[in-house]
């Protein structure tokens, strides 16, 4: 019982818990995850966009500053092309140039070319001035460029492979004003570029179209010239930014730090201004947001676990209790109470279980009582006694009863010689035959011992005409046993049957001890009936005077006179009952 029971009960319980747990957990976590993921994703996108826009605006601002640096120079150069080249103007032009050199420290050398493209003056900070060299500069790209577009920016060149310079040319409003060509020392952009800070540790730098580093806060990097690995990384960043269109680019900066860079063109010289910010720093905000979302998700998930666990336990706990209760009740422990106070259907179910247990207990007790009663009462009487709740009937009292004794003649001899199987087989037939009759007549079986029986009528349940009923029963029993006797005798058993009846007052009640109580009658009447039976010959039904008086004319009675009976001081009148149509003499007398 226990092994399959355990498997059947604990086995499926976990899955139920898991199911509840799973469903409840999912019910909380799935929306939470969906919300968290979308929030995280959109937050990330917004922040990325914001970062991109911020860097772009920084890059544009940087480009503006670089262009501003160059514009300052070209504005100064404009002053040198205000006057036409006429005779006597040489000195005026020269003064313009000298003033320019004072005003624009980045200008290293200035060359004035007249309207015909002839070099008229060259003033340098380092070299001696050259006046009216007469060199034809009309095919100089600077001259051609300035003539075409007023302002011309030359390529970035490295002085001694190190210091970056650029030639800038400016043309006057009128062709006769000529053209001013200036060599600009680009190292001075450092003042501009080093003042730009992006975020906490980000900075800005400038590359020309070919990727040559023009300006960087680390001036040494600029001065290292071409083929520098650090500058090459910036060139790669430029490629990435160009390839990525207008987007920001990620890559290594000069210090090999991973950065996010944005680019903006410096239109004049066709340079590109970059701003860079270490990725880790730029994404701090984004990371914080993602962390926050993740943390919220985690807390939510933990909460969901807790909630799901508690709810699932709340669901399955009572079920487990119910199951345990059912097992206890099934095992007969009706006193077991299922204690569930969830206030829902499960509590109702538990109450049903408890009620059922009480009812089962009552029912079992009743059936046990009936079973006990049936030990000595006919089933219908037992039901009657039990059902009518008249157990007081069983209480000891004095009652007028008919006592019937019967036993087999010659059984002692038979049992001494016969095999146990035969003895038991015979008794089986015997009691089966008598039992049916006893039940039919609702007689009370007080005891039986081997082949002997003691029966009572009118106790504990009174019945009308108990003596008559007793005699009828006795005759039926005699007839039933006679039918058996024929078979037994055919098998060679020399067995007979006798019955004795007596009527009188006796003390009736239950005797015995807990669980083994019998109903019996005590009194001389019992002894009398017993003696009657003992003195009865095979096939005889002997009755006493009281019985005989009661049955009156119903049966033929043969007075057998007064017999002395053991235990009785006086001899007792005995009558034999003869059934109407049965010849008592037809049966051969037993030994």
């Amino acid at each position: 019982m226990s092994a399959p029971h355990t498997r059947a009960s604990t086995g499926p319980r976990r899955p139920l818990f898991q199911k509840y747990f799973g469903v409840l957990f999912a019910a909380v976590v799935v929306p939470l995850l969906a919300n968290g993921a979308s929030e995280g994703w959109f937050g990330y996108r917004d922040q990325r966009l914001f970062l991109s826009q911020r860097l772009h605006s920084e890059a544009t601002s940087t480009a503006d500053k670089i262009q501003g640096f160059l514009d300052d120079i070209t504005d100064q150069l404009q002053w040198t092309v205000q006057l036409p080249w006429r005779d006597g103007m040489q000195e005026r032009h020269r003064f313009d140039v000298l003033r320019l050199l004072r005003q624009a420290p980045a200008v290293l050398e200035v060359t004035l070319v007249d309207g015909n493209g002839i070099e008229r003056l060259r003033v340098s900070r380092v070299d001696t001035d050259v006046v009216n060299s007469g060199i034809d500069r009309s095919n100089d790209p600077a001259v051609i460029g300035a003539r075409a577009g007023r302002i011309w920016y030359g390529p970035v060149t490295l002085y001694a492979g190190s210091e970056p310079h650029m030639t800038v040319a400016v043309a006057g409003a009128r062709e006769v004003n000529g053209i001013t060509i200036a060599v600009v020392n680009l190292k001075l952009i450092w003042d501009v570029i080093s003042a730009i800070h992006i975020g906490q540790s980000g900075d800005a730098f400038v590359l020309d179209r070919s990727g040559r580093l023009v300006a960087h806060p680390d001036i040494s990097l600029v001065l290292r010239g071409d083929n520098d690995p650090a500058a090459a990384r910036l060139k790669q960043l430029q490629h990435a930014a160009i390839a990525g269109g207008d987007q920001t680019a990620e890559g290594s900066n000069a210090e090999s730090h991973w950065v996010i860079a944005a680019m903006a063109p410096v239109p004049g010289p066709d340079w590109m201004a970059f701003v860079e910010e270490p990725t880790s720093e730029a994404l701090t905000q984004i990371r914080a947001t993602l962390w926050r979302t993740g943390l919220l998700l985690l807390v939510g998930a933990l909460f969901a676990v807790l909630l799901a666990y508690l709810l699932a336990r709340r669901m399955t706990g009572p079920i487990a209790l119910l199951e345990k209760g059912a097992r206890e009740i099934g095992a007969g422990h009706f006193a077991h109470k299922i204690d569930i106070s969830t206030g829902d259907e499960l509590e109702g179910l538990a109450q049903r279980f408890n009620e059922m247990a009480v009812e089962l207990a009552v029912s079992q007790e009743r059936s046990e009582r009936i079973a006990r009663l049936r030990r000595f009462l006919a089933p219908q009487v037992a039901e009657l006694v039990e059902g009518s709740d008249q157990e007081s009937l069983l209480d000891s009292h004095r009652a007028e009863v008919v006592v019937i004794f019967c036993d087999l003649r010659g059984f002692t001899n038979f049992s001494g010689s016969a095999a146990p199987g035969e003895i038991m087989g015979l008794l089986q037939e015997y009691y089966e035959a008598l039992g049916a009759i006893i039940t039919r007549y609702e007689a009370t079986l007080t005891c039986f011992m081997a082949d002997g029986l003691m029966l009572l009528l009118n106790a504990p349940v009174p019945c009308p005409e108990p003596a008559l009923r007793g005699v009828r029963m006795a005759l039926d029993m005699r007839a039933a046993v006679r039918a058996l006797l024929a078979g037994w005798r055919a098998r060679g058993y020399s067995i007979g049957f006798g019955i004795g009846l007596a009527k009188g007052t006796a003390t009736v009640g239950r005797i015995g001890y807990e669980g083994r109580s019998d109903y019996t009658a005590i009194g001389s009447i019992v002894n009398l009936a017993q003696r009657m039976c003992a003195s009865a010959e095979d096939g005889q039904v002997l009755i006493d005077t009281a019985v005989a008086e009661e049955i009156g004319e119903a049966f033929d009675l043969a007075p057998l006179g007064i017999r002395p009976l053991r235990g009785f001081a006086e001899a007792v009148p005995v009558f034999s009952v003869t059934p109407p149509n049965v010849d008592a003499e037809a049966l051969p007398a037993a030994e």
Partner: protein
């Protein structure tokens, strides 16, 4: 650190199962946090910077300017940076010994002023990084491989490859147009200075002027030079500035004033001392850049990766008091470009 470790060792010495009080746990946590944030870490490193000049103490890189340049870069002078100043007092033969002293002091970087100091440092400083100033063109003198990649352990501020002597001569000519004969004073023992003299010679030839070469080797030679100029007076003096000439600047300026000779020098300081005019790179800016390079080296940069820098600003200084004393009228074309006019 010991404060922190006292609290770290405590739980180790407690008997097993001894319950650490909440207060103890908090202390432990704080101690760990402090150690991790470096609150108990070693004090910041103190940098030692060697400053070596051929000249006198308290001038040039040995002056107050260098301290300002370092302070500007966040250093606390005599706090986290300590200067070891060494002046050769015009005696270049002392330089090797001074360099040895600095090496013995385990300086983190040596900043030199003047070519002899740079040369001595290169020869004796071993692996100690060197930042050179006012040493001519280090590429031309062989101190460094190139501007972009100096190599070795030397970087610093170079001077422009084209010698400015020609420019000075031209400016002198413009200021005093009737100059024909110019006496050039220079330290003939200094290779860099000799290059400058040669540049002046070339320009003089081009401009139709005559040069009187007055190379000096020792302070005593100045008397010889003065005697020469007294015997055959030139129209003007060009003094190539190195430590030898600078240490004797007073005598030159006085001689020029006495003999009413216009003179041009290299640095504005000489104009302030009474010289008529000067043209050359801004020395303060050069020292500032040298401090910048030294700063990079202190922060871990390899001097071989730090290109030599060229001066970006050139200063023209005029002393109008001297001009007045000489009865000279400085033309507008000079005044208009003068960065420093002393009136």
């Amino acid at each position: 650190m010991s404060f922190g470790s006292r609290y770290i060792s405590e739980p180790a010495t407690t008997k097993p199962g001894y319950p650490l009080t909440i207060f103890g746990r908090i202390l432990l946590t704080i101690a760990f946090a402090l150690i991790q944030t470096g609150a108990f870490a070693q004090p910041a490193k103190i940098y030692r910077v060697g400053l070596v000049a051929v000249g006198t103490p308290d001038t040039g890189i040995l002056g107050a300017g260098m301290a300002r340049d370092f302070a500007q870069r966040g250093y606390v002078v005599d706090g986290n940076v300590v200067f070891e100043r060494r002046a050769a007092q015009g005696k270049p033969e002392r330089l090797p010994g001074l360099i040895d002293e600095l090496v013995a002091k385990h300086v983190d970087v040596i900043i030199t002023q003047g070519y002899p100091a740079a040369m001595a440092a290169k020869e004796r400083a071993g692996n100690t990084p060197i930042v050179v100033t006012l040493s001519g063109d280090p590429v031309a003198t062989g101190l460094a491989a190139s501007l972009a990649h100096p190599g070795g352990n030397i970087t610093g501020v170079s001077e422009v490859a084209s010698e400015l002597s020609a420019k000075r001569l031209a400016l002198l000519k413009e200021a005093v147009p009737d100059v024909r004969v110019v006496a050039v004073l220079w330290n003939a023992d200094d290779f860099g200075m000799s290059l400058r003299y040669q540049a002046a010679e070339v320009e003089a030839k081009r401009a139709g002027m005559t040069i009187v070469p007055l190379g000096v080797h020792a302070p005593d030679d100045f008397d010889t030079a003065f005697a020469e100029m007294t015997k055959k007076p030139p129209d003007a003096i060009l003094m190539v500035t190195d430590i030898l000439t600078v240490l004797n600047r007073k005598r030159v300026i006085d001689f020029a004033a006495e003999h009413r000779l216009p003179a041009i020098y290299e640095y504005a300081s000489l104009t302030q001392d009474g010289g008529l005019m000067s043209y050359g790179p801004g020395v303060a800016a050069i020292f500032d850049r040298a401090a910048g390079l030294a700063d990079r080296i202190l922060k871990g940069a390899n001097p071989a990766d730090l290109p030599l820098e060229l001066p970006t600003r050139f200063e023209l200084a005029i002393n109008l008091k001297t001009a007045k004393a000489l009865d000279l009228t400085i033309p507008e074309s000079i005044l208009v470009r003068a960065d420093d006019v002393i009136e």
